[in-house]
């Protein structure tokens, strides 16, 4: 299920991807779906559009992004905010084949990833909070001060 709320100002989807910089992550999956819309099913899995998968919540003063990143070392993840773009970059499950070890199955994503989200507002870069729990990275991104909606009084 994919519930999308169109932003009041302009038709914007939180998952508007900027041209990046995807990576060996996508070479693991044959074909790449354009647009980043998620659809469940076996075919979707083979054409996974982006990594990591994200759920986004929004409120007046900012947004919260939950990204599924199991097993990743917080040191290997780079979160950067520039204006109204948020970029998540990093490395996941580096392949380490020890001596005498063979792999029978490799399904988990491995390699480098980079994903950029276009935010509907400029973010207050120094107030972004990141929290990693049970493999889910939660980013709290507040709007920058200038962008906060201001109440306008109607003069009598």
């Amino acid at each position: 299920m994919f519930d999308l709320v169109t932003w009041p100002r302009n038709p914007w989807s939180i998952f508007d991807e900027l041209e990046s910089l995807q990576d060996d992550m996508n070479r693991l999956f044959t074909g790449q779906e354009v647009g980043g819309r998620g659809q469940r099913g076996a075919a979707w899995r083979r054409r996974r559009p982006s990594y990591p998968l994200m759920n986004v919540w929004s409120a007046e003063d900012g947004i919260v992004i939950d990204a599924e990143l199991p097993g990743v070392d917080p040191k290997d993840v780079d979160i950067s905010v520039l204006g109204d773009q948020l970029t998540l970059r990093g490395k996941v499950n580096p392949v380490q084949v020890a001596e005498g070890e063979t792999y029978h199955r490799r399904e988990r994503p491995a390699g480098e990833f980079a994903r950029t989200l276009q935010l509907p507002f400029r973010a207050a870069a120094d107030a972004v909070k990141a929290n990693y729990k049970n493999g889910v990275l939660r980013l709290t991104v507040p709007r920058s001060e200038e962008e906060k909606p201001k109440r306008i009084q109607i003069e009598a």
Binding site: F2, I14, G71
Partner: protein, 129 residues
């Protein structure tokens, strides 16, 4: 991950109506060396208390329930993944010593170590002079 619709009999209510449950199939990596077989599964959102690993008749089943708290005061604007139950099972060969299976979950990744039985481990045979 793929989604699978699983039917469960609801024994609490007296009706025989089966209840549908969405179950996610976690991605796994399986590797093997001379000592053991290692199975690593991605189950983001699952923590120590809500994962269950069991073996019955050489069938290894592991399942976990992911939890999350929606941030208060926020509205869901885009969703790419669902949160729910993960389950997957594997048939083990007789090589595995089912008594010595160990499992550990950390950062949403479940790691199950399946030791091989003694007789199966490769033994070096000395050549007598």
């Amino acid at each position: 991950m793929t989604e699978k619709q699983v039917q469960k009999q609801d024994t609490v209510q007296q009706t025989a109506a089966p209840r549908r449950e969405t179950v996610y199939v976690p991605d796994v990596d399986i590797s093997e060396n001379s000592e053991c077989i290692r199975l690593v599964a991605d189950m983001p959102g699952v923590e120590q208390g809500s994962v269950d690993v069991s073996v019955e008749n050489n069938l290894l089943t592991f399942e976990g329930t992911a939890t999350f708290e929606a941030p208060e005061g926020y509205e869901l604007v885009g969703q790419e993944y669902g949160v729910g139950k993960y389950r997957r099972d594997f048939t083990l060969s007789d090589e595995v010593d089912t008594d010595g299976i160990k499992a550990r979950i950390r950062h949403g990744v479940l790691e199950v170590t399946l030791p091989k039985r003694e007789q199966v481990k490769t033994k070096k045979i000395e050549i007598e002079a």
